[in-house]
Symmetry: C2
Subunit: 325 residues, 2 copies
């Protein structure tokens, strides 16, 4: 993303994201040429680097020490990338955001190891913060993320799960890393306990909204913009918030339930199931819940002093709610 665009979203810290980019670049320098190729692909700088930006923004509320904040931002981006790489192996996904996944380009074996290598680099990078507390927080986040993924995988096609179970799963899978970004940034900057708690809560709630919007976009986005087929989650049996809300109020004989419960010829029901959910009130209801989380995120910031970073964090809520890919 061009720097003027990131400056608009992230404000003054945007320029420091170049330091994260430099550290990510250093991770790509390896002797094994096949690995180097995979790393170039996985770490390509097309993303918005939202998570490192959250670390830096949180860091501005205390002693803004780039020697600590940049390694944490980089570690978090590496962990994020590692989890995407393994997710793609798990889903055997062919495209992510319109570009071919590592596992579709390279073989599964190498891709599992690519993910492990990124995890290893993330674990090394976080120790460069010099903080055992933040390093420990980071490893606990990895546990939450993996548990969330495992829960999602084992709950596939299980119509017995409720909204609470969904929220707890995305809390682990997605929100925990954004929570780690803002909490870790605040701890490294030496913020007060209340400051750390405010920023932690902000990151968690923003992350919840982020994942809910992601789950809505899986229904209402277009394949062209999303870079993957509409209804991908449902196809794999992942029951997200729109599906849950649809099931709560639909006729017991609905086609979504039929899709989830039939084992034979299941995929023949998919298109109709996606259509039913998309044309029900479930997407709007889900969006409302995402808005509630953004509201809570903003609420959490109240105790922090007014400054440019706070304004940017508040505006990030709109960005999360309005994004279309």
């Amino acid at each position: 993303m061009p720097e003027d665009q990131t400056t608009q979203i992230y404000g003054p810290i945007a320029k420091d994201l170049a330091l994260v980019e430099e550290l990510l670049e250093s991770v790509k320098s390896v002797d094994i040429s096949a690995l180097q190729k995979m790393l170039e692909h996985a770490l390509e700088s097309r993303g918005k680097r939202l998570r490192p930006a959250l670390v830096l923004l949180a860091g501005t509320f205390g002693n803004y020490d780039l020697n600590k904040l940049v390694p944490l931002g980089t570690a978090i981006e590496l962990l994020h990338t590692a989890s995407l790489v393994h997710d793609d192996v798990i889903d055997s996904a062919e495209n992510r955001r319109g570009k071919p996944t590592a596992n579709s380009l390279f073989d599964n074996a190498l891709t599992v190891l690519l993910g492990d290598f990124l995890f290893a680099n993330a674990a090394e990078m976080v120790t460069r913060t010099g903080s055992l507390k933040v390093t420990r927080l980071f490893s606990l986040t990895l546990m939450k993320m993996t548990s969330g993924e495992l829960d999602q995988d084992t709950a596939a096609f299980d119509v017995g799960r409720d909204v609470q179970s969904y929220l707890s799963r995305i809390g682990g899978k997605t929100a925990s890393l954004m929570e780690n970004a803002t909490e870790g940034g605040a701890v490294l900057a030496g913020c007060s306990n209340e400051g750390v708690e405010a920023l932690r809560s902000y990151g968690y709630n923003l992350g919840m909204a982020f994942q809910i919007v992601d789950d809505i976009l899986d229904f209402e986005g277009t394949e062209e913009v999303m870079g993957k087929p509409v209804g991908s989650d449902l196809r794999e049996g992942t029951i997200t918030l729109p599906t849950l809300l649809y099931l709560q109020s639909a006729n017991p004989e609905n086609v979504v339930k039929k899709f989830l419960e039939t084992e034979q010829e299941r995929q023949s029901y998919l298109q109709e199931a996606v259509f039913e959910i998309t044309n029900s009130p479930a997407l709007l209801e889900s969006q409302k819940i995402a808005e509630d989380y953004v509201e809570r995120a903003r609420e959490a910031l109240k105790i922090l002093p007014e400054n440019d970073s706070k304004t940017k964090l508040e505006k990030l809520g709109d960005y999360v709610l309005q994004r279309n890919n």
Copy 2:
């Protein structure tokens, strides 16, 4: 393994391995029942727990603090288990290359996540040592292990690699973790720099011997004792020391080269290739090199005071050289 047997091998620290077992047990307590089942299987206490024993033995050369040593031993065992779990995915991914089935895919998916969960727990466990230095050492070890595995995977069937490349690969894949066990134990116990270096060198050299013996056993062990078919490494294209030494002195038209270089009907040459290597001097030459590493491991211990732990570490060399599975 019964405690009297471990006492014979590990001496006085053997009883403290029960504390490692307890911590491993605590990792198995999870809410997701599918995960719990997989963890029970992966962490079953049938092994000799060699790596945790190395941590504890190294720790006896300084301040033997179980509150630090037991978490490190547990973290190292978790990391070891995680890497075995992912190796298994990688091998079975190769077996079914080109023809993935939905069922095997689902199983693989959970297994990738099981490995990630074990990595996460290992990363969390090592922070319980309270030492950022040891935590950092641990993450560097994970990098070396993954690089070694990646190197092995990308070098499959490549007859252009030499003995040096093999030694560097097993140094990363296997020896680095034993090195981490003894070095980390010594650091936690507050040993002098020379003491740490002596124990680090011991662990590294013992690990090198361990892997070379493993690679010999892949040829001369029986399927019954080893639990896998003889010649498994060669079948997958992994060129280990016996194969390298055989190729160095064999006729250029030999069947092993034919096996490695032919892409069509390759497996029809496997049995003959294994027979040729097994009946060449290569296994004995490999054993000699393993003995040299054990010698270096013992040499490293010389500067340490004479005590029961030192005797046990010396004897572990014989155990590594003489094991048959």
